[in-house]
Symmetry: C2
Subunit: 154 residues, 2 copies
């Protein structure tokens, strides 16, 4: 098991654009229950099945397994909830950390968030200039919730 400790921020301008090339991610959920999330994600030609436990603050138990892309495609077609999250992920190195900027499409078009994964809840890090308001505790930004209540409906 991994413990996922993550902080999430809005992005206040476009200064991050052009720094790196994004990967395309397509993901959907077998379980979108916030206490037991099961996510299928395809990123380029790799796929993963991820189980996440209930969040406690900014931490959450997480187990992730590589699976054949063909399995993931079939699950997205048949067993997952029909809505999918489609996003571009930009992995931007900054001051010893990697910021993951997610630019959403489809029903969440217009939404851009940046995440940083930490080793402990109180780990100190430097923020790039383009990082805006923190939304770590705003459940609307949880990807499984963005499926049910997409950004365009806010």
């Amino acid at each position: 098991m991994g413990l996922e400790i993550e902080r999430k921020f809005l992005v206040k301008n476009d200064a991050w654009r052009g720094l790196v090339t994004p990967v395309v991610m397509c993901q959907a959920y077998i379980s979108a229950d916030p206490e037991r999330i099961v996510r299928v994600r395809i990123e380029d030609e790799q796929a993963r099945l991820t189980v996440k436990g209930k969040a406690s603050g900014i931490s959450r138990a997480e187990w992730e397994y590589s699976i054949p892309v063909e399995d993931a495609r079939r699950m997205l077609e048949s067993v997952c909830t029909p809505q999918q999250i489609i996003k571009h992920r930009y992995r931007i190195p900054y001051a010893g950390f990697t910021w993951e900027v997610d630019e959403f499409f489809g029903a969440n078009q217009g939404l851009v968030v940046a995440e940083i994964e930490l080793a402990s809840e109180d780990q100190v890090f430097e923020k790039p200039d383009w990082i805006g308001e923190e939304v770590s505790h705003d459940f609307r930004y949880v990807n499984a919730n963005l499926l049910k209540q997409p950004y365009s409906s806010w």
Copy 2:
């Protein structure tokens, strides 16, 4: 993906006992939704995470992955629904097939069912004398349903 094609029967006497030694299985569900089942199972010192699609007759899409036993234990403790299925499984060879006899414990104590996995829905097979009534189409016997409505409550 595998396609799981299975027929399920009650067991009408104890003639199958003593033929083989059982393994102990302990399983629970991250999703018990019959259209998208996610099961965690520990069998002896092996563990598997299984995704099952919606059943169509006696067939169902199934994807199964080996996972570390420690991951499975943590999931059973934290992320799965609290009820668990505990059963002994007897794998009994008969006329070229393997019959899986499941003897349930806990809230399903007293229930014994036998399953046979087929390559096609119409595949012909011979039944041992101890095989009783077919229950393939009786959803009460689906393990994910036995959690919600255990045999002792029927």
